[in-house]
């Protein structure tokens, strides 16, 4: 096995948390190498001719190569696990930029109550409100601590939106439930589609507080703090699952990777798969072993290892990196790795049709819509409810592609073939409107990740196994939100509508967001977590985990803004303090 020249820091992958940390660390003078499984790719020439729904949306060209490595799933410990053979309920990425190339750009900050979730509900409603089997816990970091990092990220990438709370002052037109922002969004909100304006009007009549969806997609040309000038969004309608050919959708490539490369101290090694983290005689990490594009193993020594892959990549690397000092894997000396696995309740309980309208819903993207946070977390009284936390409610996204949307019609139980179906599509394809919820997903003792005993990846390592199902909180939350969505749709005056009142069992084939969280959660001490608030692994302090694997439970909002803010914070702490006293836990 070839051993490469040692670097200061090695990262798993070249996705967004890797790029943020590489930028912070290389600017401070450290050498960083990213070992990236997929290809190098850039807006030009790679995304300039890609409006192909078959290749990118149906066949999912950009997604993680699950023919080489997938994940197995079972609903509970009594059931057998089977591998996820084709893409379904989540869409991890590969290649330089990671999933942040094909992401949607929805940009939410978790709120103060998301961070002290458990103590907030217990103090306000009593212990009994917690769902059975609950494993939720407070984060070891607060919104106030993260606010400067949220703001820095939002300005560096050029976010778009209407601020709702500026330094504690409620700003009309924005989200009045938003946490305080120290600066507004640098760009105005994206344009909204017609049904989203109808949704706003209807929900205002109901007394709610709709506002334009915040986004990591530029609503206009923007000069970022580094001097990059980027195009605004063209509303082309090929956004999620595609790379943006004009760099209007923010990504590591638009922002952090060029800054890191500019230092001359950043290196990306594409087409190389990290297989395991290596630890030395003292139990500390010494680097990573990866498989190069020729199939040969190489060793990249490093003083610090950053687990900056997708949630499941990071958790698996902890579990498979076993040694005499870490017989159950890195970070797992107290059997904490794999716990607190959560996903997201991403469902459209209500569909309405509006005959004789043509809403142009193939234009735009997932941010060209209206959001509502009246039922987010504890923005509404839970005293008489059978669940905790809440959901974002969304009007309807754009970027509607025929091949992936005709299956939604007819609404209700009509058959989906034959002349009648054809007439339904003719009549309603561009006027059917879902209302969608993005619900919080609580952690439970019965949902977790471990190594599959049967199935292996092409590198000979076991697959990571997900044991995951919706819990009682998810079902009860969904039922409540479905009613609220139905009330809003009724107020919008549809020709016809259908409501799915109950949440079905969890499955791995219906897409329900790529927000898999937990498994290497952060906490206040080694007894309740794998890492400290910086993602630094308690039992191996020169290994850091980034991303949503750190989340103790999931909120009713997209995870990207929060994981980016956490990476900014960790980067600053490493630069300011870690290297003064390496291999010691950061206070």
């Amino acid at each position: 096995m070839k051993t490469l020249e040692k670097v200061d820091v090695v990262t798993v992958g070249a996705g967004w948390t890797a790029a943020i940390l590489a930028w912070k660390l290389t600017e401070a003078g450290y050498r960083v190498s990213s070992i990236e499984q997929g290809p190098s790719r850039w807006a030009n020439p790679d995304f300039d001719h890609n409006h192909d729904s078959i290749r990118y949306s149906v066949r999912k060209a950009m997604m993680y190569p699950l023919s080489s490595e997938t994940w197995s799933w079972r609903p509970n410990v009594q059931a057998p696990s089977l591998p996820i053979r084709k893409y379904g309920s989540f869409h991890p990425g590969q290649g330089v930029g990671g999933a942040a190339i094909h992401w949607s750009g929805q940009l939410y900050r978790f709120t103060p109550t998301d961070f002290n979730l458990r103590s907030h509900y217990v103090e306000k409603y009593g212990e009994d409100i917690l769902p059975e089997g609950s494993a939720i816990q407070d984060w070891p970091v607060t919104y106030e601590e993260l606010e400067p990092y949220f703001t820095a990220f939002d300005w560096d990438i050029g976010s778009s939106g209407q601020v709702g709370n500026l330094n504690g002052e409620i700003v009309p037109g924005g989200n009045p439930f938003a946490p305080p922002f120290s600066r507004p969004y640098p760009n105005p909100p994206l344009a909204r589609n017609i049904p989203s304006l109808m949704f706003a009007e209807a929900s205002e009549e109901l007394g709610y507080h709709p506002y334009p969806h915040p986004s990591g997609i530029l609503s206009r040309a923007y000069t970022d703090p580094f001097g990059n000038v980027r195009s605004g969004c063209l509303y082309c309608g090929f956004c999620t699952r595609f790379g943006c050919e004009v760099d209007a959708k923010s990504s590591p490539q638009t922002t952090h990777i060029p800054q890191a490369l500019k230092t001359g101290r950043y290196q990306i090694r594409p087409n190389a798969h990290v297989k395991r983290v290596v630890t030395g005689a003292d139990g500390l990490a010494t680097g990573v072993i990866f498989v190069d594009d020729q199939g040969s193993e190489q060793f990249q020594p490093a003083d610090v290892v950053l687990l900056t892959g997708y949630t499941m990549t990071n958790v698996k690397l902890l579990l498979v990196s076993r040694s005499s000092d870490h017989p159950q894997g890195i970070g797992n000396s107290r059997d904490m790795v794999g716990r607190n696995l959560t996903h997201q309740i991403w469902q459209s309980p209500v569909l309405g049709t509006f005959d004789n309208r043509r809403f142009n819903l193939y234009m735009g993207n997932t941010s060209t819509q209206t959001a509502l946070h009246d039922f987010y977390n504890d923005n509404f009284d839970h005293s008489d409810l059978d669940f905790i936390d809440g959901a974002s409610i969304f009007s309807t996204i754009g970027e509607r592609e025929p091949v992936t949307s005709v299956g939604s019609l007819p609404i209700g139980d009509g058959k989906k073939w034959g002349q009648e179906w054809k007439e339904t599509l003719r009549r309603n394809w561009d006027n059917f409107v879902p209302i969608t919820i993005e619900g919080a997903f609580m952690s439970y003792d019965f949902n977790f990740m471990d190594l599959d005993p049967t199935y292996k990846d092409v590198y000979g390592m076991p697959l990571l196994r997900l044991t995951l199902d919706f819990g009682p909180n998810e079902r009860n939350l969904y039922r409540f939100m479905a009613q609220r969505c139905a009330e809003i749709m009724e107020a919008m005056g549809p020709s016809n509508m259908s409501v799915t009142e109950e949440l079905g069992p969890y499955n791995v084939h219906d897409y329900q967001s790529t927000h898999i969280n937990g498994g290497a959660i952060m906490g206040t001490d080694p007894g309740n977590s794998v890492t400290n608030s910086y993602g630094q692994v308690w039992d191996t302090p020169n290994v850091f985990v980034a991303g949503a694997a750190l989340y103790p439970q999931n909120a009713g909002a997209n995870p990207t803004d929060t994981l980016a803010a956490l990476a900014y914070r960790t980067g600053d702490a490493m630069v300011d303090r870690y290297f003064d006293d390496p291999e010691e836990l950061l206070e």
């Binding site: 850039w42 020439p45 344009a191 509303y235 004009v246 025929p402 073939w417 394809w429």
Partner: protein, 335 residues
């Protein structure tokens, strides 16, 4: 590091550095000579290693977007009888006439035939490692059958939650499903499926769609086969014509979709039906967006080409009169 690697790394460092920041160096300059900014001072390290892979080859398991429509007169996977059978089935899923084209008129069978000609129809990534699943009815799995083969037993009312677990390639699914369909048609009506009347065909399709047990089907089941063909009919009828179906944009015209466009304005988004004022086009007709080719209302990507000629065109374009939705670049820079 060996010296050959070193020199390649250094060269790529410079190339890739420019790739990453060349464009922004260009756009942040106004009139001054192009500057490259700080290039790596480190000869041993930095940049993106290896030779870039062209986009068509970046994800080799998924076929590249066709650049020309496939020749409809050539069957690449089906026999003539197989093609007739599939064509007849798609025509019941989306019926049509010459004036109101359905799947047959849109040549959906050409889409399916061409799809199956790539890697036995495996056009998406698929994790194919055994052991495979086998279902059981009732509360407990049966004793392992005698014999050498290993299965994972899954309750039949739970298997759908696990997503596709089939073992057969798409080509094998079609071969088996077509044979079973024709055998059933022959048994019940005395003719191949394609030769039955539309009403007779609809009777069979209804059974398949409703999940009725049709004894001539084994793997795939009748309902699985129907669902496979239905999904592929949707892809062929509503997908880009470059893939062989959606002839004359039949699917897009039905629902009112203008196809692959470069962009729309907020005003268009706010006006019912305005997108249909664009000429309907597929990806082959969509104008190229390659570096250096001017285009209205677009500022060139930051993460893009490192080609000198392109950068100078970029400079000209961005520092010239280019505007974007009323936002002048100069204003954007000051914002």
């Amino acid at each position: 590091m060996p010296s050959s690697t070193t020199s390649r790394t250094r060269r790529l460092t410079r190339r890739r550095f420019l790739r990453g920041v060349g464009a922004l160096a260009a756009v942040t300059m106004t009139g001054a000579a192009l500057s490259c900014g700080p290039i790596s001072k480190d000869d041993e390290f930095g940049g993106i290693l290896g030779k870039p892979i062209p986009e068509p080859e970046q994800y080799p398991e998924v076929p590249w977007t066709p650049t020309v429509r496939p020749d409809r007169s050539i069957l690449r996977s089906f026999t003539l009888d197989q093609a007739r059978t599939v064509d007849a089935l798609t025509a019941r899923i989306i019926p049509g006439t010459q004036d109101d084209p359905g799947a047959r008129e849109a040549e959906v069978v050409v889409y399916i035939d061409n799809m199956l000609s790539f890697n036995n129809g495996s056009v998406e990534r698929f994790y194919g490692q055994p052991p495979y699943a086998k279902t059981y009815q009732g509360d407990t799995p049966p004793e392992q059958e005698s014999g050498p083969y290993q299965y994972v037993w899954v309750a039949s009312d739970q298997i759908d939650r696990y997503g596709p677990q089939g073992v057969l390639s798409p080509v094998a699914v079609y071969q088996s499903g077509i044979a079973a369909l024709n055998t059933f048609a022959d048994n019940e009506y005395g003719e191949m499926f394609a030769d039955l009347s539309e009403d007779e065909q609809d009777e069979i399709v209804t059974m398949m769609a409703d999940g009725d047990d049709i004894s001539t089907f084994t793997e795939p089941s009748a309902s699985d086969f129907f669902e496979t063909v239905r999904q592929h009919t949707i892809q062929g009828y509503f997908g880009d014509p470059a893939y062989g179906g959606n002839q004359d944009y039949a699917g897009w015209r039905l629902i009112g979709y203008p196809g692959a466009q470069r962009g729309y304005t907020p005003e268009e988004m706010h006006t019912d039906g305005s997108g249909l004022l664009h000429q309907t086009q597929g990806i082959i007709e969509m104008h190229q967006f390659h570096p250096g080719e001017p285009h209205d209302n677009v500022i060139r990507p930051v993460s893009g080409s490192d080609d000198d000629e392109v950068r100078s065109l970029l400079l000209e374009q961005i520092c010239g009169p280019s505007t974007l939705q009323g936002v002048n670049v100069e204003d954007a820079r000051e914002s």
